[in-house]
């Protein structure tokens, strides 16, 4: 049944080569933790992606309860983490996942750095990787405000003030981030939009580029 359905689609769209491209490529021994224990350092990239998937899923589910509004934001986070079944787990995954994704990405960056894997011909992939790093930090910064507790509020004030210290255009950046003259209702909706729509879209595009380049260029050789 499943097979005949697959064949029906494949006849029309020729989908076999698409997944074959992903599935069939060879993976060399030096990155395989089954052969060399030290190869676990090559897992950090994959783990970063794994946790990113957790982040995207848990984030999607959190928005079922979360309200980006200064009166209700705190109450909704409080509600979803203390009144909803498994709420503390889902929010916990998103909260700790945010830290872990940074840790994994940091370790992955260090692995690439110290194995010299960024060298020609993989320069572009390094640059894309650094952009992903920047986007992830942006996600961390914008996500921090969303629970709207004191920690969120004051850390964001400091963050915005840092942005405002940029010479010449600092004040404009500040107003643009805040959406007004104070960190308030408009700031929260802005940060929500950036955290939930803008940055994830950029992140997915960059990740696609990152993976495509890895597939195209293959993994860097053993040292």
């Amino acid at each position: 049944m499943f097979k005949s359905m697959y064949n029906w689609i494949d006849e029309r769209l020729d989908i076999t080569p698409m997944w074959r491209d992903v599935a069939d490529h060879e993976v060399p021994e030096h990155v395989n933790p089954a052969h060399h224990f030290s190869a676990f350092v090559y897992c950090f990239g994959g783990l970063t992606f794994f946790i990113t998937v957790i982040q995207i899923l848990s984030g999607m589910f959190l928005t079922m309860y979360y309200t980006p509004d200064i009166i209700n934001a705190y109450a909704s986070v409080d509600y979803l983490s203390h009144k909803v079944a498994f709420g503390v787990i889902v929010r916990g995954m998103h909260h700790w996942g945010a830290s872990l994704v940074i840790v994994m990405m940091f370790l992955h960056t260090l692995r690439v750095f110290f194995t010299g894997s960024y060298k020609a011909p993989r320069e572009m992939n390094w640059v894309v990787g650094m952009m992903i790093f920047g986007v992830m930090l942006g996600l961390g910064f914008t996500g921090y405000l969303l629970p709207w507790d004191n920690k969120a509020y004051f850390a964001t004030q400091v963050g915005i003030k840092i942005a405002a210290s940029v010479p010449f255009i600092g004040d404009y950046i500040k107003t643009l981030l805040q959406g007004g003259e104070v960190v308030g209702a408009v700031t929260l909706t802005r940060f929500f939009a950036i955290h939930v729509f803008f940055l994830p879209a950029v992140l997915l595009a960059l990740l696609a580029g990152h993976f495509f380049m890895i597939r195209k260029q293959g993994i860097s050789g053993p040292l």
């Binding site: 992903v22 021994e29 705190y74 409080d78 750095f113 910064f141 004191n150 840092i162 940029v166």
Partner: protein, 295 residues
């Protein structure tokens, strides 16, 4: 698409559309130069990655279940006792701003210039480190720069956290999320519903008899400086709201607190007499406060 066909090439079109049946695949990377056994990505290699993934997920779930995500009290812009801390991975940047050449008139150095240059340098490292050598010990300058940066980041993060802990101890502040969690645990132990400090819940208690002569006295007295004109207090700094205070304290209790203080609050009686209030005024004040009942 039809234009760039080579003469002898066999082209299969799907149906009558111009979509060419794709037969070429992305080129397989050739790992024959590397020693050892390579294996297919799916299922052989992916299985090993997934084993690592399983271990990591178990770790994450254990962390999630043992440590609930922190949540403090609702944001209160007038709270002055709160020590703001960014997420841990920004701590090194935060600490960096405390040094003489990264603060004061040079704050741009700390906020924009140095971090910007560092990030830019890292981003452009493939174009700065041009030697074909990959081993880190054979390219000492690049590696040394990275190691020094890592050590500096580690030091700054540690120092920042250390300062924070010391400050908490010195000012006798319990971090809000910890306080909140204890409250929840206490409520659970007592079998009550989890208290919610959200703004919506706080609003339900309204001020009673705002035209009472006691209210006018309150505005003149020292009380207003901390507990606020709206009797809201600053819960996050440990200054309780006086709304609904009549539920728990009688007029005599309140007079006692004015005369003797309570907790962090010093005795207020003398100060208020010094401000020109009389005993009768203070009596009116205490009477008015004892009228502040939530129902």
């Amino acid at each position: 698409m039809a234009h760039d066909r080579k003469p002898g090439e066999k082209v299969v079109f799907v149906g009558d559309s111009r979509v060419r049946l794709k037969t070429e695949r992305l080129k397989q990377p050739d790992y024959s130069a590397y020693p050892g056994k390579s294996e297919a990505f799916i299922p052989n290699f992916l299985l090993k990655e997934w084993m690592v993934g399983v271990v990591v997920l178990v770790g994450i779930l254990a962390l999630v279940m043992s440590e609930p995500a922190p949540l403090g009290y609702p944001a209160d812009p007038t709270n002055t006792a709160f020590i703001p801390m960014p997420d841990w991975y920004f701590l090194f940047l935060y600490q960096f701003l405390k040094y003489p050449y990264t603060s004061d008139h040079y704050v741009v150095f700390g906020t924009v210039l140095v971090p910007g240059l560092a990030f830019l340098g890292l981003m452009l490292v493939p174009f700065l480190d041009l030697s074909p050598e990959r081993r880190f010990y054979r390219r000492p300058v690049t590696s040394a720069l990275m190691i020094v940066t890592l050590l500096a980041m580690g030091y700054l993060t540690y120092t920042s956290w250390h300062h924070y802990k010391e400050e908490l101890k010195e000012k006798n502040i319990i971090p809000e999320d910890v306080k909140r969690e204890e409250e929840l645990r206490a409520a659970k132990g007592a079998g009550k519903a989890a208290p919610s400090p959200s703004a919506g819940a706080a609003k339900k208690v309204a001020m009673v008899a705002p035209d009472d002569p006691g209210a006018a006295v309150f505005k003149k007295a020292t009380c207003v400086a901390c507990h606020g004109g709206e009797l809201k207090g600053m819960p996050s700094s440990g200054i309780p709201a006086l709304l609904g205070i009549g539920d728990t304290l009688s007029k005599d209790d309140i007079l006692g607190i004015i005369k003797n203080g309570k907790g962090n609050m010093p005795a207020q009686y003398k100060d208020n007499i010094g401000k020109g209030l009389t005993d009768a005024d203070i009596d009116k004040l205490a009477n008015w406060l004892s009228m502040q009942k939530s129902k």
